[in-house]
Amino acid sequence: MTFDMPDTSPDIPVQTRSLTLRVNGTDRFLAALDIRTSLLDCLRDHLGLTGAKKGCDAGECGACTVLLDGRRVNACMVLAVAAEGREVTTIEGLATDGRLHPVQQAFIDCDAFQCGYCTPGQVLSALACIEEGHAGDEAEIREWMSGNLCRCAAYPQIAQAVRMAASRMEEAG
């Protein structure tokens, strides 16, 4: 039995495109980006924004979670060219004037991480979870935070941090 793996075909030239991505409120120009580049690889390897992490590169772990037009998505599942013209928010864009975002502060206050690898994705997912109105109680938080895996299993503290951030953000209006 013989198998042929159709993964690569050297006779097809690499296709590139120059584009502008709006990341954390700033337009970032990318010259001749390989079209196959995911938004995650683009952020990390081309724009120096290494906060979003590559865990599985298959949409299974949530470590690469960013906001796209305000909605949380897995950056590994988006082609950078397909994000052209959209607003991208990464963990680097959350703090303002040197002050951590309330969700970031709550993660610290609740000790909601151990190794920290999943934390940028957890924080952005938590922010979206709260803004979607899905932080009502522990069960709801666990369901709507289920797209972010934590191999250190800091889940109780993460759920606690989401509740803390939600109530602080509500108080702050």
Binding site: M5, T8, A58, G62, N74, M77, S125, E143, S146
Partner: protein
Amino acid sequence: MQPFSYARAASVEDATAASLPGTLFLAGGTELLNWLRLGIAAPRHLVDISRIPDLDRIEALPAGADGKAGLRIGATVRLNEAARHEAVARDYPVLAQAILQSASPQLRNLATIGGNPVQRTRCAYFRSDAPVPCNKRRPGSGCAALDGLNERHAIFGWTEDCVATQPSDPATALAALDAVIVTEAAEGGRRIPARAFHTLPDERPEGHNVLRAGELVTAIELPAPAPHSAYVKVRERASYEYAIVSAAATVEHDGAVLTRVRLALGSVAMRPWRLDEAEAALAGLPLGSSRIAQVLDEAFRAARPLSRNAYKVPLARNAALRAIETAARMP
């Protein structure tokens, strides 16, 4: 990953006309990017349909002969948007529940209602990096799951050439609802019943669904509302996991007697598995009757488990019963 070109379609006509050989359509990308990375697909061209105006709209259909209006969901409506839509949540709870139990919040913000049924089997041999026998991946190479790790595989409709299952939760709900998958293509569009959208191995073991090259899903049409409907998903963890089995049920009753039941099972075959004979036998039974379980027992005598998945037969039978009971209790 083989290089490919990328273009954005401005309209459905633009997309189907631009569909050269080797073209795949890109919408949410949550499945397509995995295909590209695994080598399951190697397109020459991607046509991005996610910005086509009006393809992301949800609108009421004109009322049918029975005076009841259905709903048209544009193909690029994101799963979360579809589940959250007032008319979907109110009139088609089985679909809203199926959507919200699929994937993760992040993936549902990307994945579309038109793209979701196009997802392929999760069979580990089909998705393998290593070149193992798989008639879907490499036609003619055999089926490693037939006598291999087939705990999660089919109990209905399989052949020795393929024992895979179609994993989509929304597609299972759509099959129970008798939804129609609307397509366009350069040579003309089609209206495909959701329950006949996927391809069984006795038709074409290498097949996944009936879409032709260059054919684009443009909308999902739901017929009359099914407010008494429910989706039961059984899985190994509470969330963010594929089904072992699932059951979608729609029920109509007069307060005492079932007048119409539709049942589709998920993750038991390469297509959502409707139980036509059981549906016919359930009509006329009193609500809460012990005969309901007996009818299901009879229906599941047709199940053919594999070497490692006999446990799925009672699991699916119980899920079906629970889906009927839950649907009947819906207000």
